[in-house]
C-alpha cells in the first residue's frame, strides 16, 4: 500500500492527526448521545448543562484549569518516557508516593519562606517520583523486564507503602491524612492573588508549572543534546547504538525523568489544593494523564488541548450528575482514546483487510 508510506511524511501525518481527532470527537459525541438517551435524558439539554458547568462561567473555567493542571504535568511526564518508546503506566503509583513525600516534607517546612519552602517540597516530591520509577527503568534496560508489568506491580506496591507510612506515623493520629503543610510550602490559589475572575474555584499558581512544562517540550526535544538523543533513541535504537549514543542510559534517564515530572503534579494537588496529603488524593490522575499523553502524541499543543478536553469532561460530569451519572464522562474518555488511535491513519487498514486486499 503506497498510500501507507506517504502518510508518514509531514503532510500525511497532519492529515492522520486531523482525521484521528475528528474520528475521536465524532465517536465521543455518539457515545455521549447513546448514554444520555439510554438514561432517558435529552442530549441537547445535557450538553448545555455540561457547557454551562465548565466554560460557561468563570468559576467553571477555573475548575477546568484546576483539573487540567495535574493532567498536563502527568502527560508531559508520560510523553517523556514515550520518546524512548517506554510506557510509563506507573504514573499512578509515582504520584501517590510523591504526594505523600510532599505532604510530609511540606508539613516540616512550615516556617520557611515560600521562596524556599515550595521548591524544596516540590523537589523532594520529584525525587520520590523519580526514585519510584528507577526500579522498573533499571529492570527494563538491564534485565528486559517489560516496564508495563513492573510499573503496574509498583502501582499496587505504592498503595501498600503509602498506607503503611500513613498508618505508622506519617498521618495525624486516627486519620489517613498528613498534618497541614506550612504556609511556606503552599502554592496560592489564583483568586487569592487578586484574580477575582476565578473566585471560588480551586485553580492555583501550579497551572503555571503545567504551562511551563508544555512550553519546555519543543525546547528540550529539539534544542538540547540530551533531548535530541532521547528522541533519536526512540526512533532508531540500533542506529543510535552504532553512533555511540548511550541507548540504555538515555532510556533509564527518560523513564526516571518521567517519574520525577509525575511527582511535580503533587504541586497541583497537595501544595496548591488540599494543603495536606490524604490517602487517595490524586487517584486516577496517573491513568487519565496517560490517556492525555496518548492523545497529545508528543506535541505541546496536543497535550494541552487533550488535558483541557479531559478536564472539561471531568468537571462537566459534576454538572450533569443530577441527571446522568458522571461516570458517563469517564466512559467518554476511554472511547475517545480508542477512537483517536483508530482514526489516526489506521482506519483504512481496517477497511482494506475487510475487502481482503493483500497488502
Amino acid at each position: 500500500m503506497s498510500a501507507g508510506g506517504a502518510a508518514t511524511s509531514g503532510g500525511g501525518a497532519l492529515l492522520d492527526r486531523t482525521r484521528g481527532v475528528a474520528f475521536g470527537l465524532a465517536a465521543g459525541l455518539v457515545a455521549f448521545d447513546l448514554m444520555v438517551l439510554g438514561y432517558g435524558a435529552s442530549p441537547a439539554f445535557m450538553a448545555r448543562l455540561l457547557f454551562e458547568g465548565t466554560w460557561g462561567t468563570s468559576y467553571g473555567v477555573g475548575q477546568v484549569l484546576f483539573k487540567a493542571t495535574p493532567l498536563v504535568v502527568v502527560a508531559v511526564a508520560v510523553d517523556c518516557a514515550l520518546r524512548t518508546r517506554l510506557f510509563n503506566v506507573g504514573a499512578e503509583g509515582q504520584l501517590a508516593v510523591a504526594s505523600l513525600v510532599a505532604g510530609v516534607v511540606g508539613a516540616r517546612l512550615g516556617a520557611a519562606p515560600a521562596i524556599v519552602g515550595v521548591p524544596l517540597t516540590v523537589t523532594a516530591a520529584a525525587a520520590a517520583g523519580g526514585l519510584w520509577a528507577a526500579g522498573p527503568a533499571l529492570m527494563r534496560v538491564r534485565l528486559k523486564a517489560h516496564e508495563v508489568i513492573t510499573t503496574i506491580l509498583m502501582n499496587k506496591l505504592a498503595d501498600g507503602v503509602v498506607g503503611f507510612a500513613l498508618a505508622s506515623g506519617a498521618a495525624m493520629e486516627g486519620t489517613v491524612r498528613t498534618a497541614s503543610i506550612g504556609r511556606g510550602a503552599r502554592i496560592p490559589r489564583l483568586d487569592a492573588l487578586g484574580m477575582p475572575f476565578f473566585q471560588g474555584s480551586a485553580v492555583s499558581l501550579a497551572v503555571l508549572v503545567g504551562a511551563l512544562l508544555l512550553g519546555a517540550i519543543p525546547f528540550v526535544y529539539r534544542r538540547t543534546a540530551w533531548g535530541r538523543e532521547v528522541v533519536l533513541v526512540g526512533q532508531n535504537e540500533r542506529a543510535c547504538a552504532r553512533e555511540g549514543v548511550p541507548v540504555g542510559a538515555r532510556m533509564i534517564q527518560s523513564f526516571v525523568a518521567s517519574g520525577a515530572v509525575v511527582g511535580l503534579a503533587s504541586g497541583a494537588t497537595v501544595l496548591g489544593y488540599k494543603g495536606y496529603f490524604e490517602e487517595g488524593l490524586g487517584a486516577g490522575v496517573g491513568f487519565a494523564g496517560l490517556g492525555v499523553a496518548l492523545l497529545g502524541r508528543g506535541s505541546a499543543v496536543g497535550i494541552g488541548l487533550a488535558a483541557l478536553l479531559f478536564a472539561t469532561l471531568q468537571q462537566g460530569g459534576l454538572a450533569i450528575n443530577a441527571h446522568v451519572p458522571k461516570e458517563a464522562m469517564d466512559v467518554l474518555q476511554a472511547v475517545i482514546i480508542v477512537a483517536v488511535a483508530l482514526g489516526d491513519g489506521r482506519l483504512r487498514t481496517l477497511l482494506a483487510s475487510r475487502a481482503e486486499v493483500p497488502s
Binding site: 448514554m35 439510554g38 438514561y39 510506557f87 503506566v89 526500579g135 529492570m139 534485565l143 528486559k144 523486564a145 517489560h146 508495563v148 508489568i149 513492573t150 503496574i152 506491580l153 509498583m154 499496587k156 506496591l157 498503595d159 501498600g160 507503602v161 503509602v162 498506607g163 503503611f164 498508618a167 505508622s168 491513568f287 496517560l290 490517556g291 496518548l294 451519572p325 461516570e327 458517563a328 469517564d330 466512559v331 474518555q333 476511554a334 472511547v335 482514546i337 480508542v338 488511535a341 483508530l342 489506521r346 482506519l347 487498514t349 481496517l350 483487510s353 475487510r354 497488502s359
Partner: protein
C-alpha cells in the same frame, strides 16, 4: 500456636484454591491472547465486564448457569472489541488495553448506577449453592470450592486451553501467528482471524474468572477485580506464556494472599505491608528469574507485531 494451626489448616488450602480460581482464569486468557501475538493488558477490564455480565444476567434470570453464560458472552464481546481494535485497527495493544481497562471500570460503574441506582454494588445473588456440602469446617469448605461449577469451569477451560494450544491444528496456527506472523500468513494461515479467535476465547476465560469472583462475593462491586488481572498478567510473563506454569504461579499468589489474610487476623503486623506481599513476591520472582538469564521466559516473537 493458633497461627501455625491456621497456616497448616485445610481451611487455608480451601482459601488458596478459592482465590486462585480468578487468577488462573485470567492467566489462561492472557496466554491464549498473547501466544497468538496480541498483547493483552485488558485482562483486568475483561474480568470486570465478565463479573458484571454474570451478576446482571443472574439477577434477571435467577439462574447462576445462565449468569455464567451471560458473563462469558459479555467477556467475549469485550475481548472482541480489543481484538478488532488491535488486530484490524492496528492500534498498539498496550494503548487499547489501557483504554479498555478505563472503559470497563467506568462502564460498569455507569451501568451499576443506571440499572441498580447504586454507585458501589449490585443486588445480591445466590450464585451456585451446594446444599449437600453445607458446613463450617475446613473440609466442607474445601469440598465446596472444589465442587463449585465456576471452579470446575476454570479448571476445564485451562486444561482444554493447554491442550488446544499444544496439540490441535488451531493451536498450531495460533502459535504460528504469535511466533512468526509473516511466515504464518505466507503459509496460508489467516493471522487476523486466528488472533481474533484466540483473544475472544481468552476473553471467555477471563470472564469466567470474573463470574467466579462475583458469585463468591454474591454480588458485583465497583472495581471488584482489584488488580487480579494484572497479577494474572505477571503470572503469564513469569510462566513464559505457558498455561500450566501460569496456573502454578497463580496458585502461589493465591497462597500468599491466603497467608497474608491469616497473618492479618492473627498477628499485629501492619495490614498494608501484608497486603503488598503478593506484589513484592511477584517483583522479586521476576527479578530473580531474569537475573538467572530468564531461561524459559522468552515472549512469543511475534507479540505486538503484525503480519505485514
Amino acid at each position: 500456636m493458633s497461627i501455625v494451626s491456621s497456616l497448616l489448616s485445610v481451611t487455608l488450602v480451601a482459601q488458596t484454591l478459592r482465590m486462585a480460581v480468578p487468577y488462573a482464569a485470567a492467566a489462561t486468557g492472557g496466554v491464549l491472547s498473547e501466544r497468538s501475538g496480541v498483547v493483552n493488558i485488558a485482562l483486568e477490564g475483561t474480568m470486570l465486564v465478565g463479573a458484571f455480565g454474570a451478576v446482571t444476567t443472574h439477577v434477571v434470570t435467577g439462574s447462576p448457569w445462565i449468569g455464567l453464560a451471560g458473563g462469558a458472552g459479555a467477556g467475549a464481546a469485550f475481548a472482541l472489541l480489543h481484538a478488532l481494535v488491535v488486530v484490524y485497527g492496528r492500534v498498539s495493544g498496550i494503548v487499547s488495553g489501557i483504554a479498555l481497562n478505563l472503559l470497563a471500570a467506568a462502564g460498569t460503574r455507569f451501568l451499576l448506577r443506571a440499572i441498580y441506582g447504586s454507585s458501589s454494588n449490585s443486588p445480591t445473588v445466590v450464585g451456585f449453592r451446594l446444599p449437600a456440602l453445607e458446613g463450617a469446617g475446613g473440609g466442607a469448605r474445601l469440598l465446596r470450592v472444589v465442587a463449585d461449577p465456576t471452579t470446575l469451569a476454570v479448571v476445564v477451560f485451562a486444561v482444554l486451553a493447554a491442550l488446544v494450544v499444544a496439540k490441535t491444528a488451531f493451536g498450531l496456527r495460533l502459535r504460528a501467528a504469535g511466533e512468526a506472523p509473516e511466515v504464518a500468513r505466507s503459509s496460508g494461515v489467516h493471522v487476523e482471524r486466528t488472533r481474533t479467535a484466540a483473544v475472544v476465547l481468552g476473553g471467555v476465560a477471563c470472564a469466567i474468572g470474573g463470574a467466579a469472583l462475583a458469585f463468591d462475593q454474591h454480588q458485583f462491586q465497583a472495581g471488584m477485580t482489584g488488580g487480579r488481572g494484572f497479577i494474572a498478567l505477571a503470572a503469564v510473563v513469569l510462566s513464559g506464556w505457558r498455561v500450566k506454569r501460569a496456573a502454578g504461579f497463580c496458585l502461589v499468589f493465591a497462597l500468599l494472599d491466603a497467608v497474608q489474610i491469616v497473618l492479618q487476623n492473627e498477628t499485629r503486623l501492619p495490614v498494608q505491608a501484608l497486603s503488598s506481599l503478593p506484589y513484592v513476591a511477584t517483583l522479586l520472582t521476576l527479578l530473580v528469574l531474569l537475573r538467572r538469564g530468564g531461561s524459559g521466559m522468552s515472549a512469543p516473537r511475534g507479540l505486538d507485531r503484525h503480519a505485514d
